[in-house]
């Protein structure tokens, strides 16, 4: 069993003494503990008059105080001391129907688009794999063509592994490196422009790798030599 700290015991004893003392005091005052000022105010107001007027007619209720008061003001507690609203109310709507309807329409639109597109455009199926016949050019899937484009500029270890690895690590660390707490676009001009530059850099590399690289992965113009690109 835990020891009750001494200062708490003392405090409890003091409270008990005080309570005993005050009950004696209130007994001597005949139980009337409503401050005179409040009583006067009540009497001055219309409600007080009504109570006083009604009291003789209906008789004093059991347990009522002097003057027929059936309620007492024990204490006035300011709202801030016991309750504090920290969270501001958020403007919310029901998920059904407001969000689910939007999601449903979006899903339906995407399904319709995919269905029609797949109906009209066939996925490529070239000749069966042949190890003795290397197509020229050989290209990676489009989302890796930015990397393949980097291969023309750097050593494969840098272009194929180090740079994309650093890109991934930078993405993962972004929330820990960005110490700016604001999400307002006007406060985030640096990060926004960094990301935009990164995305444009990547998009340009991918587009060059996709459409401007021909046989031998040499630079071509798609309008001059045709497109060497399969999805």
């Amino acid at each position: 069993m835990t020891e009750i700290p001494e200062h708490l015991l003392k405090r409890a004893q003091a409270a008990r003494d005080k309570a005993a003392g005050s009950s004696d005091a209130s007994a001597s005052e005949g139980g009337d503990r409503i401050p005179d000022a409040l009583l006067d105010r009540t009497k001055a107001s219309g409600a007080g008059a009504a109570v006083v007027a009604a009291a003789p007619a209906g008789g004093v209720p059991v347990g009522a105080g002097p003057g027929g008061h059936t309620q007492r003001l024990l204490t006035v507690v300011k709202s801030g001391s016991i309750q504090e609203a920290k969270a501001a109310p958020v403007d919310k709507v029901h998920t059904w129907p407001h969000l689910l309807a939007v999601e449903f329409v979006a899903a339906l639109a995407l399904t319709a688009f995919l269905f029609v597109f797949s109906w009209v455009v066939n996925a490529p199926l070239l000749q069966a794999a042949d190890f003795n016949n290397t197509p020229n050019p050989s290209k990676a899937p489009w989302y890796f063509l930015g990397l393949q484009e980097l291969l023309t500029m750097f050593h494969p270890m840098i272009a194929g592994v180090t740079l994309p690895g650093m890109g991934l690590v930078a993405l993962i660390l972004a929330p820990y490196l960005d110490r700016n707490a604001s999400n307002k676009p006007e406060d985030r001009k640096f990060m926004t422009s960094m990301m935009t530059m990164f995305l444009i850099f990547w998009a340009v590399l991918t587009i060059i790798g996709s459409f401007f690289r021909g046989p031998g992965f040499n630079f071509t113009f798609p309008w001059r030599d045709g497109i060497f690109f399969e999805l």
Partner: protein, 260 residues
């Protein structure tokens, strides 16, 4: 005569309504459709039922009962995250269909796709949907990442969910890349050759990484089997786990970010 007028024979419509009410009031019916379902007897559009619709559906209760008003604006999210998940479901369904007609061996794979396209009902359509859907998923996941970045939604308390998002983007690329090999045509073989040659330049462990990925020193039937298992089982399994954490964290971190 008066008696007949008081109790006319019930019309067909009345009988149907009565049977309908009986079915809707039955124990079996009520055990299937939980409170708040529009199929329950006496369904009305009330705030309470709107909450029940979400709470009592295994699919919808990924969502909270209420969301911030700005979160339902299409212009804020462009639905990109939700659509990525939806395309993943479409890919799972079409992928299961494709699995019925495909054998991951060097001798059979290409022939099976050829047969699927020419002799299987809707085979060509489903394969097209699977292929184009895969490209769409790479796009939507990528655009979702850009959207989240531009909204600053990776900031506290959502840092870790952003990290999970980067993992999901990587897994999406891996899923797409492993699927790229499976048709076993010239496009697949040489695209994957280029891709895996790049990974062979990993510092220190390059040749080991390449060996594990290819199941040998060169691409062959072993690679096909390995990537098939990765594509249809292992990577989907892993990505579903990460998606579950991702969606759960969205709610635990206080719902969608913003408003700006």
């Amino acid at each position: 005569m008066a008696k007949v007028l008081d109790n006319p024979r019930p019309t067909l419509k009345e009988r149907a309504a009565k049977i309908g009410a009986q079915i809707q009031g039955s124990q079996a019916w009520n055990s299937i459709f939980r409170p708040g379902s529009i199929f329950r007897k006496g369904y009305t559009d009330s705030p309470r039922n709107r909450s029940y619709v979400i709470m009592n559906s295994v699919l919808y209760h990924l969502h909270p009962v209420k969301v911030k008003r700005h979160a339902v604006k299409v212009s804020y999210t462009l639905c990109l995250g939700g659509l990525s998940f939806f395309v993943f479901i479409l890919l799972t369904v079409t992928g299961i269909f494709l699995m019925f007609f495909y054998r991951p061996t060097g001798a059979n794979a290409w022939e099976d796709i050829q047969t699927l396209q020419t002799s299987v009902t809707f085979g060509l359509l489903i394969r097209n949907m699977h292929r184009w859907g895969a490209h769409i998923m790479v796009l939507t996941v990528f655009l979702h990442m850009a959207r989240v970045f531009y909204h600053g939604a990776y900031k506290p308390p959502r840092e870790f969910n952003w990290v999970i998002g980067v993992v999901l983007l990587t897994l999406t690329l891996l899923l797409s890349f492993t699927g790229y090999l499976l048709p076993w045509d010239q496009l697949a073989l040489w695209a994957v050759t280029v891709g895996t040659n790049m990974m062979g330049y990993t510092p220190v462990f390059g040749s080991q990484v390449r060996f594990v990925l290819l199941g040998g020193v060169e691409i062959g039937s072993e690679t096909l089997l390995r990537w098939y298992v990765l594509h249809v089982l292992m990577l989907p399994f892993v990505i579903v786990i990460f998606m579950a954490i991702h969606f759960w964290r969205v709610r635990k971190d206080g719902g969608i970010s913003g408003p700006l």
